[in-house]
């Protein structure tokens, strides 16, 4: 096939990818975006297969077959609560592909100049994102301990390792014929990826996933430079900028500066767990009491967090939403940007449970509404509701934007126990007079509330 036609297919594909992302701007057009992306992908792949430099097809089609056989079940069988794990895994696959292509290119061509620079970037980012994403996957899947693992001089070790990898990369750029260096370079990148993610705790996962997303994209863009394929550069930089924007949004939502994030001060938050023994009392309530308050409420704001995903309580919350709406209450969901384990995690879970998406309200829009709310119901969220972030300068999360749950007339918190959350930060919200604690598994508690509400309705 004519090389020009292939190039033309690439140009159309690149345009479709941009349109695809543009259509993600609202749920009405988003599915069109997926179709545009699929057509672009099909064009690009068919174009490449028909290009004249491809001579053997057999192993390519076997790989297509295996990839599809794994990919289809991965897409359809994954429960929505496991979406963060799946995403981490797919960053790993994408990065691995880029790294391996870079490795093969290196040994084939031993290129000099700009191409070698691109290959070094591609393989460095590819390998470190591969192991980093696998670590993130392991933590999210709870194969690995989700707690941050820290040791002394962690940052120094990481910097040294990264520095060593960077120096070897430069040596390779200057002198590509030194092929013995390459495996060491690759190994350092792989180890660095592991060490980068080890100190990261669950609460930081949304930022990290977004950042790994960005790295995987940049590594694909570097591949585009190495292979002289501009469509690859475009697709890779779109992915890279998307990850970057999400990472910045997450950083802002946690009051972290971007440099702080880049230089891996991730574990910081967890270290300062200084909560004193105190005699403050909490008011614990039964589902019956909660139901009677909710029954009288006209305006309810539900604040979901990661605990909701853990308890798989999204469908029960839909039932609660239904009951309250039927009683004439105005029920909305307040979504903090870092609620859950990846950007947008809560939205997907609640959408899965068939809650209309216009009921899901972003933090900035809903915060002004809490003072008018009769009940704020916090389910499985902790730090994002902590008023200490507003007032207590000594708190590790001081300055982090939070949901102003404490301004509602009554606050109900569904929580497993009084133990401080993952970040180990004390939450004064729990000791307020207007706060009722509902101890137990989110799903069990919400189920009980729904049952009580139904009985109240029957009695009336």
């Amino acid at each position: 096939m004519n090389e020009q036609i292939v190039q033309f297919a690439y140009i159309i594909a690149a345009g479709l990818f941009v349109m695809s992302l543009k259509w993600m701007r609202s749920p009405e057009t988003a599915r069109r975006g997926v179709v545009a992306g699929e057509i672009g992908m099909l064009l690009a792949v068919v174009g490449t297969l028909l290009g004249r430099d491809i001579v053997s097809y057999q192993s390519i089609f076997i790989a297509f077959f295996i990839g599809s056989a794994v990919g289809v079940p991965l897409a359809y069988l994954m429960p929505m609560t496991a979406v963060p794990q799946r995403t981490a895994l797919s960053h790993a696959f994408g990065a691995l592909a880029a790294a391996l292509v870079g490795t093969a290119e290196y040994y084939r061509e031993l290129p000099h100049g700009p191409v070698m620079v691109a290959l070094v970037f591609e393989t460095l980012l590819g390998f470190l994102t591969f192991t980093g994403s696998l670590m993130a996957f392991g933590k999210l899947q709870e194969i690995l301990p989700a707690r941050p693992i820290t040791y002394r001089n962690q940052n120094a070790v990481n910097f040294a390792l990264f520095g060593a990898a960077a120096i070897l990369g430069i040596v390779l750029i200057v002198n590509p014929e030194q092929t013995w260096i390459f495996p060491i370079f690759a190994a350092l990148a792989l180890v660095f990826g592991v060490l980068l993610i080890i100190p990261i705790g669950g609460a930081d996962m949304p930022t990290v996933i977004a950042l790994l997303n960005s790295y995987a994209g940049l590594s694909a863009a570097a591949m585009g430079f190495a292979l002289g394929n501009r469509m690859l550069i475009i697709a890779g930089s779109l992915d890279g900028s998307s990850g970057l924007i999400l990472a910045i949004i997450m950083c802002k939502a946690m009051n972290r500066s971007f440099t702080n994030l880049l230089f891996g001060a991730f574990g910081q938050l967890q270290k300062k767990a200084g909560h004193q023994e105190d005699q403050r009392t909490v008011r614990s309530a039964s589902p019956e009491e909660a139901a009677s308050i909710l029954d009288a409420a006209r305006s309810v704001i539900i604040v979901p967090g990661y605990g909701l995903a853990v308890a798989q309580a999204q469908h029960k919350i839909r039932e609660l939403y239904d009951v309250l709406t039927r009683h004439g209450a105005d029920v909305r969901f307040a979504i903090h940007p870092v609620a859950g384990r990846m950007p947008g995690h809560m939205n997907v879970l609640l959408a899965e449970a068939d809650i209309p998406y216009e009921r899901l309200v972003e933090m900035d829009e809903i915060n002004g509404e809490f003072p008018q709310a009769d009940v704020a119901l916090v389910i499985g969220a902790n730090d994002v509701t902590n008023p200490a972030a507003r007032s207590d300068q000594s708190s590790p999360i001081y300055g982090m934007p939070i949901l102003d749950v404490d301004k509602a007339r009554t606050v109900m918190v569904v929580k497993r126990s009084m133990s401080p959350g993952f970040a180990g930060i004390d939450n004064p919200l729990y000791y307020l007079d207007k706060t009722l604690m509902l101890f137990g598994d989110a799903k069990v508690v919400v189920t009980a509330i729904v049952r009580e509400l139904a009985e109240v309705a029957k009695a009336a």
Binding site: M24, A30, Y57, S59, G67, A75, A216, S241
Partner: protein, 100 residues
Amino acid sequence: MLKDLEVGLYVFMLATFVGLEVIRRVSPLLHTPLMSLTNAISAIAVVGAISITGAQGATTLSKTLGFIAVTASTINVVSGFLITDRMLKMFRTRKPGQAK
């Protein structure tokens, strides 16, 4: 050679700007599907993997690495697009009768 690099850098810069502008407008509601969609799109790396695997005179090393790379990217392409669509289907304004 240098000309190629120059053009490449222009493309990279402009695509990044376009990316930043377009992504900024994506509703926060859709950040999770956005991530799986961009992931599927960047699995366009499959193109590079194909050319490594099927090229004339590919060594065993290139063929093996390329094979793994094609498999890994195909997983991303297939599962990325399918799961994005699966998620987007769930975002509805009103509840459809009893369908679930």
